[in-house]
């Protein structure tokens, strides 16, 4: 790195630096959650079409057995997180603030936790890249950083667009969370092996592992694990939120800027999370589908916060009990404090994208009341996308959503920096989410109206055409009749011509 790069890359001009609150939870050794009696495995744990159940109630399943298959091009299958019997296929509260229900398969664990037949691949580099993508897809691996985009779809995209650089995201910039930190410390060799498989699958020449410099243990472990491979580099990056966001990490590591409305792969870069790489390793080397993940359970309302290896489908309440709840949490958050969602209650299952569960005490949950905007511009300086949050918010406040869109609302990544720094504590992200939702609803209704109008126009055209044809047919029949009549007058008709009722009156 040149001196200019050092100066300019070390200190990003965007972002915020919240208290990270990662320790002591990050330093506590990884613990396994005791197997719950019931696991509720949702069918929608990924971006794309929900999986379709392929098991019946009462059926016995083994750990790792396929219980729901992918549906559509962008989807992911779901596997049994433990052995047992399917006790129900019904609804469970989705991990979403709405508290709406979604389809889930409930497994009554038999306690044996017995694996199904596994098919490990001893040398993934002997396989065709397409085959690696197929096996990764079959193992249900999705982006574990929270985006939950099916990993294999990204592999194929990367191969098609000839991506040269794989960026491995170990940023974990969200405060409180340390699941990626833990996997890098405890399973560095798995992460490095997984990322090399990913490199091979997408045809990348080099891999850059970006890790925030507030995780020295992870940097040390990953540096050792990556040492044998010349094309895999560990790159510490400044601890600055939102460093873990794709666009910001790509810019920090490569200096490239992803154009608006374009995908990272189009500039030759693909980003995968460290935990995703570890899951790819397990899928290929061990033949184990994605059935468990590390979940950070943290927050002031817990007595023993830490990182737990939890089977998918375990309830949040199971994890909270294991971590020791100290009184009633004032707020439950899935994900980190900057972008996480509030959970309606604790009977919500752990899904593939659940990197953390936060149980806040009253002090942590306290957000001061919102005041007027004093145009201090803190939000503008914090915005990693270079937007003007205060201008957008004032337009949205006046319901002028088009003007807000003109200020670049669609480029907002919802990272929450603006709302975090706002001295008036205006819930800016709420404004933007509202406006984005409203604009996309308008867009949908505009498309629907256009479609309706087109159908109506076509109907009008058809009716007009039919009417014209009717008239033409009538004229033709009349002409034929007249011709027949003319023929009859030359030879007197034997029968009277039928008279229409209307004509009788005259």
């Amino acid at each position: 790195m040149g001196i200019f790069e050092k100066i300019f890359r070390r200190q990003p001009h965007w972002g915020v630096h919240p208290d990270d609150n990662k320790r002591p939870a990050a330093d506590a050794p990884l613990r396994s959650l005791p197997l719950p009696e019931l696991l509720h495995v949702p069918m929608q744990q990924h971006v794309g079409g929900p999986a379709r159940p392929v098991v019946l109630v009462g059926q016995a399943v083994r750990k790792g057995q396929l219980i729901a298959e992918a549906q559509g091009n962008i989807s992911a299958p779901v596997h049994a997180p433990t052995s047992g019997r399917i006790s129900a296929i019904g609804e469970i509260t989705a991990p979403h603030p709405s508290g709406l229900a979604q389809l889930a398969i409930t497994i009554a664990a038999d306690g044996a936790d017995a694996w199904c037949e596994r098919a490990p691949v001893s040398d993934p580099f002997a396989l065709a890249p397409e085959e690696i993508a197929r096996l990764t897809a079959a193992a249900g691996v999705v982006g574990l950083g929270g985006a939950t985009f099916p990993a294999a779809v990204k592999f194929n995209l990367g191969r098609r667009l000839k991506v040269s650089t794989l960026i491995v995201n170990g940023g974990e910039c969200e405060p409180y969370l340390s699941s990626d930190d833990r996997i890098m410390r405890d399973r560095a060799s798995e992460v490095v092996d997984g990322l090399r498989i990913v490199m091979y699958a997408i045809g990348a020449r080099e891999a850059l592992i970006g890790i925030e410099d507030n995780k020295p243990e992870a940097i040390a472990a990953m540096t050792i694990a990556a040492a044998p491979f010349g094309n895999v580099q560990v790159r510490p990056v400044p601890a600055r939120y939102p460093m873990g966001s794709d666009k910001q990490l790509i810019q920090t590591l490569t200096g490239k800027e992803v154009p608006a409305d374009a995908r990272a792969a189009e500039v030759g870069v693909l980003v995968h999370n460290v935990s995703t790489c570890a899951a790819v390793h397990r899928a290929l080397r061990c033949g184990e589908p994605l059935v468990e993940r590390i979940v950070t359970v943290n927050g002031g309302a817990l007595t023993r916060p830490g990182n737990f290896m939890a089977p998918l489908g375990a309830l949040v309440v199971d994890l909270l009990r294991f971590a020791g709840v100290n009184g009633r949490p004032a707020r439950l958050v899935l994900g980190g404090p900057m972008m996480g969602v509030v959970l309606p209650h604790a009977r919500v299952p752990i899904v593939k994208g659940a990197s953390g569960i936060l149980a806040f005490d009253a002090g942590e949950a306290q957000i001061p009341a919102a005041g007027p905007c004093i145009r201090c511009g803190s939000c503008t300086r914090a915005c990693p996308m270079g937007l003007l949050p205060l201008e957008m918010a004032s337009r949205i406040g006046a319901e002028d959503l088009d003007a807000a869109a003109g200020f670049g609302l669609s480029d907002c990544i919802g990272c929450g920096c603006c709302a975090y720094v706002c001295p008036s504590h205006i819930p800016l992200v709420q404004y933007f989410s509202y406006a984005k939702g409203e604009l996309s609803a308008r867009e949908r209704s505009r498309l629907r109206n256009d479609a309706t109008r087109r159908l109506a126009d076509e109907r009008q055209a058809r009716l007009a055409r039919e009417a014209r044809e009717k008239v033409a047919a009538a004229a033709r029949r009349k002409a034929e009749r007249d011709a027949a009549k003319a023929a009859a007058t030359t030879r007197p008709a034997p029968v009277a011509v039928a008279v229409a009722p209307g004509e009788v009156a005259t």
């Binding site: 405060p175 992803v258 201008e391």
Partner: protein, 360 residues
């Protein structure tokens, strides 16, 4: 544990910085404190009385409007913005001005300058400067009657009661002799008499330029160094950025340097321009008002340079000896225009907002 508990849906982020509007306002007041205390020492009890009268009037004006609009009064007053507005206005008034100047100014600042626009954050113009200009235009005589410094412990200085008498009763004839011109006022009147600056400033009665501020002027303009120190404190605390003060002072200095080197007999030098009048108070405390200045750094540079240039033009060729207040108001009016045309570049887009070209 397994039961539901009432949840109020809250949008992310679930964390907030410790900043608050009141914190910002109170720090600005704290930064003004040294210069204010020094001004009290220089000008004595009448200045102290005028100061609290102005602030109290600004707060009463704000409270009155809030009551009228049936908004909560105490939480809004607690943000400290009315206090700061009154304080800044008091610092820009002649220290021995009569009480009603403070009352009219304070009320005008918060009622007409701020609440009429919709309260904090909505006003187009800096409320303190709106009030100062309104006072200057409406009451030119008391607004331009300056007092020579008379340190509070000296024997000629009025005591507490005399101070009240001066503030509420007007200047006694005996003390009228102490009134004096500001440096800009002196330079202007001498120039208009046909005496050039080289001669007039060599005369004995010429007001000396003093870093310590022992000269006639408002509370906020005499103690230049303390005002600048307060400004540096705000910079260090990152409450203000350097862009507006730098652009404004650099433009004033640049203009003064140019014109003074062209004709030293007609144009004042750089130090006089920077250290006299409201240049420093304006640069650090008034032009940097968040509400009425642009919100990008580039825009702030344009804004600061505009204030500096207009200040110089008004001081040198305008009808008033001092121009910071007018310059700030004029540039306030341009702020929406600056904000419209100067915007930060959005990630992934060029300056015009079109998506960047893809070059892999």
């Amino acid at each position: 544990m397994s039961g539901r508990w009432p949840v109020i849906p809250v949008a992310a982020p679930h964390a907030a910085s410790t900043g608050s509007v009141a914190r910002v306002m109170l720090w600005v007041c704290a930064a003004l404190l040294p210069a204010t205390l020094y001004g009290f020492w220089l000008y004595g009890w009448p200045a102290i009385h005028l100061w609290w009268i102005t602030i109290a009037s600004a707060i009463v004006g704000e409270a009155f409007c809030l009551r009228l609009m049936q908004r909560p009064v105490l939480p809004v007053l607690g943000d400290g913005s009315a206090l700061l507005t009154g304080w800044l206005l008091a610092l820009s008034l002649p220290p021995w001005a009569p009480w009603w100047v403070g009352v009219v100014g304070g009320l005008f600042a918060t009622v007409i300058g701020k609440q009429v626009f919709g309260g904090l954050g909505q006003n187009l113009f800096n409320p303190a400067m709106v009030a100062r200009v309104a006072l200057l235009i409406s009451f030119p005589v008391p607004m331009t009657r300056w007092t020579a410094p008379m340190p509070i412990l000296s024997t000629v200085a009025p005591g507490f009661v005399d101070g009240l008498r001066i503030t509420f009763g007007g200047l006694p004839a005996a003390l009228d002799a102490t009134s004096s011109a500001t440096l800009f006022g002196y330079a202007r009147s001498e120039l208009s008499r046909g005496v050039d600056l080289l001669q007039s400033f060599s005369a004995t009665q010429a007001p000396a330029i003093s870093f310590l501020g022992e000269r006639a002027g408002s509370l906020g303009e005499t103690a230049s160094l303390l005002i600048a120190a307060g400004g540096l404190l705000l910079l260090a605390l990152r409450i203000i950025s350097w862009h507006i003060p730098f652009a404004m002072l650099a433009t004033i200095a640049g203009s003064a340097l140019l014109m003074h080197s062209v004709d030293p007999a007609r144009y004042l030098d750089v130090a006089t321009h920077l250290l006299s009048g409201g240049a420093l108070l304006g640069a650090f405390f008034i032009a940097t008002d968040y509400v009425t200045s642009p919100n990008t750094w580039a825009g702030q540079l344009v804004f600061g340079a505009g204030v500096g240039f207009l200040t110089y033009v008004i001081r040198t060729w305008g009808g008033y000896p001092e121009g910071v207040a007018f310059a700030v108001l004029l540039m306030n009016a341009l702020t929406p225009v600056i904000d419209r045309f100067i915007r930060p570049r959005v990630y992934g887009r060029d300056r015009r907002g079109a998506a960047l070209e893809i070059d892999a």
